[in-house]
């Protein structure tokens, strides 16, 4: 089966004040049709930058330096800005954002906002767009959709607005929806409810999803495939089942173990603390925080390699990682 999206060795940098931030530094990621793919990694690892590169909506200081983004066989990097606007953004690929309260324009009704997207990408008039929007609202379980249509964002709850943005994301029947931590800003009950509904919806309409999150629990719940990102690059990827049951990268192991992003200092088992900060120029980017790394890890650049059909890692010592995960009987089950 052909991949819907294939990102190959993507490098996206930010430049400013003479410094270069390599936000995405050699990322590979692919998504197949109708697949729900998780992208997990701590804050600042470059998840949002991947999404922004994909839609080419980077802030002015950001730039895709190299790599390929192949969507339905087309290299996104070669499309003109006009083609991006009319064919890709909102039409083929749409997005749901982290903070629903600020992601819609406060000066327009939610109805106006969704119909303007519909009218932009489809050859329909206001009346038809409104009918469609109200249908979509009904689909995402917005109660009393006709009435909500004329509400301004400030008149709706966070959960309700997130439903509106989900409706908007689905409005033009995209092939891919990027969800950038869409439930983080909501309270747990609402988040759960929306997650359930979203899961049902994507099954119904058969869309691929790139789900960006910190939350491994969510990944386990809704994703088929997971990508673990660290410092702008992918450390481990595979089906949720393989990666969760048999993590072969010490970073993944750390994530699973704690489900919190920070760990104890180096030396003290099982993993390391520190922040995403000092990245070695050569060799493994995770080295400063890796409990099992040694000089060998800094010698050469480490490639993402396939362990088996559904599992790849960027580490030269998977056996040690495996031992690490077994040595302490932490069990990941309790976490997720």
């Amino acid at each position: 089966m052909m991949n819907l999206l294939e990102i190959k060795d993507l490098h996206t940098y930010f430049e400013g004040n003479g410094a270069i931030v390599k936000a995405v530094d050699g990322a590979d990621l692919s998504i197949r049709e109708r697949e729900v793919v998780g992208l997990v990694g701590e804050s600042g690892s470059g998840k949002t930058t991947i999404a922004n590169s994909l839609l080419r909506i980077l802030p002015e200081t950001g730039r895709i330096v190299s790599g390929g983004i192949i969507f339905k066989g087309i290299n996104i990097r070669e499309l003109s800005e006009k083609e991006m606007q009319f064919k890709i953004r909102g039409n083929e690929i749409s997005m749901i954002f982290q903070d629903p309260m600020v992601s819609l324009n406060p000066l327009f009704t939610v109805g106006e906002q969704i119909t303007s997207v519909l009218k932009l990408h489809q050859d329909i008039g206001q009346k038809e767009a409104k009918t469609k929007a109200i249908d979509l609202f009904r689909k995402v379980r917005i109660s009393d959709p006709e009435k909500r249509f004329d509400n301004y964002p400030h008149e709706l709850s966070g959960g309700m607005i997130q439903r509106v943005t989900i409706a908007m994301a689905m409005s033009c029947e995209p092939s891919l929806i990027i969800a950038d931590e869409p439930t983080t800003a909501l309270d747990v009950t609402i988040a759960n409810q929306i997650l359930n509904e979203f899961e049902e919806l994507i099954g119904e309409i058969g869309v691929s999803v790139l789900w960006i999150t910190h939350d491994l629990g969510v990944i386990k719940r809704i994703c088929d495939y997971v990508n673990v990102m660290y410092a702008g690059t992918l450390m481990e990827q595979g089906t949720v089942k393989t990666v969760f049951e048999n993590p072969l990268h010490s970073y993944t192991f750390g994530l699973l173990r704690s489900n919190v992003i920070y760990y104890e200092p180096k030396g003290k088992i099982p993993t390391i603390m520190g922040e995403l900060s000092e990245i070695p120029h050569q060799g493994c980017k995770f080295y400063p925080r890796c409990p099992i790394g040694d000089e060998g890890c800094l010698q050469e650049s480490i490639e993402l390699r396939k362990i088996d059909e559904n599992h790849s890692i960027r580490c030269i010592k998977p056996e040690d990682a495996k031992r690490l995960s077994r040595s302490k009987n932490h069990g990941f089950q309790g976490v997720c």
Partner: protein, 313 residues
């Protein structure tokens, strides 16, 4: 609440303010130290003439009665008689109001057609050449008092180059516009600089907002994003600034009308002050005060039109 109800409520809220304004304007004559009649006629006036004036202005009556008379006269559309022009003040004001309103209107037009594109251009190329042009020219304008700019432009474009008339208001619509071109341009300059600066910084702020990113994500073009979203979201602070500066505009119209010898209400006010035509000063002050009240009302309504959060909560 609907917009209509909001508009009505704001209107009703103005009524007490209106009475306060009327009372203050009425009191103006009495605030001036000394005998109002003497102030008006000067120290050389004969006792007979003073008495006559006191009588015609009703100065001998108790204050509340005078206010009552003032109000009833006003209700009949009368503001008394000008001492200098010996004519009804309402008539004088109406004949001159047209000039001032045209002047203010034209300067607003200048302000909009210059500041909108300029601030959009500066925002789009912030930190680059267009932005510097906008910022430095604003700064330049801020540092020049309008009487000075007025005289400078008058000297260059009217006297030396002869492109524009030096004085007066002309006759006929086109001629009026031609005569008002230079003065309204100068009157509009300060506002233009102010609006350009405010809009620019507010638009830059709005551009960072998540909802603008949403619009971009959904495929809206830069054109739509700037003209439909960024501009609208950045407009409120600008309207506030404009609203607050109407008083300044009226004050400046006095200067500009004088520099360009325009027969407007501002120039008439200056005249009235010089010859101590107190009833006329009173009348013009009332018009200015009403203009500012009306302006604030309109600003409130525009607020509501732009941002429904203001009345829908």
């Amino acid at each position: 609440m609907s917009l209509e109800r909001y508009a009505l409520r704001r209107f009703l809220e103005m009524i007490p303010v209106l009475f306060i304004v009327l009372f203050i304007v009425f009191l103006m004559l009495h605030f001036i130290p000394g005998d109002p009649a003497k102030n008006i006629l000067g120290i050389m006036a004969t006792p007979e003439r003073l008495e006559q004036l006191r009588k015609s202005l009703g100065l001998n009556e108790p204050l509340h009665k005078q206010f009552y008379v003032f109000l009833t006269q006003l209700a009949r559309g009368s503001l008394g008689t000008s001492i200098r022009y010996k004519a009804p003040i309402t008539e004088l004001i109406f004949s001159r109001l047209r000039v001032t309103l045209s002047l203010v209107f034209m300067s607003a037009v200048f302000c909009v057609i210059i500041s909108l594109p300029l601030s959009l251009w500066a925002t789009k190329h912030r930190g680059k050449f267009p932005d510097y042009v906008a910022r430095i020219s604003s700064l330049f304008v801020f540092s020049m008092p309008e009487f000075w700019t007025g005289l400078l432009f008058l000297n260059i474009f009217a006297l030396r180059l002869g492109w524009f008339p030096t004085r007066g208001w002309g006759s006929g619509l086109l001629d009026n516009i031609y005569h008002l071109f230079l003065p309204s341009f100068i009157l509009g300059l300060f506002l233009t600089a102010l609006v350009t600066r405010t809009l620019r910084s507010d638009m830059i702020e709005v551009l960072q907002k998540e909802y603008i990113r949403t619009a971009r994500t959904y495929g809206f073009s830069d054109r739509t994003i700037y003209l439909k979203y960024v501009l609208k979201n950045a407009l409120l602070p600008t309207i506030t600034v404009l609203g607050l500066n109407l008083g300044w505009l009226l004050g400046s119209s006095v200067v500009i009308e004088t520099v360009f010898s325009l027969p407007g209400i501002g120039a008439m006010l200056l005249d009235a002050v010089i010859v101590r035509d107190y009833p006329l000063i009173q009348g013009i002050s009332l018009v200015f005060a009403l203009a500012i009240m009306l302006n604030n009302y309109i600003v409130d309504i525009i607020y509501g039109l732009i941002d429904p959060r203001i009345y829908r909560s």
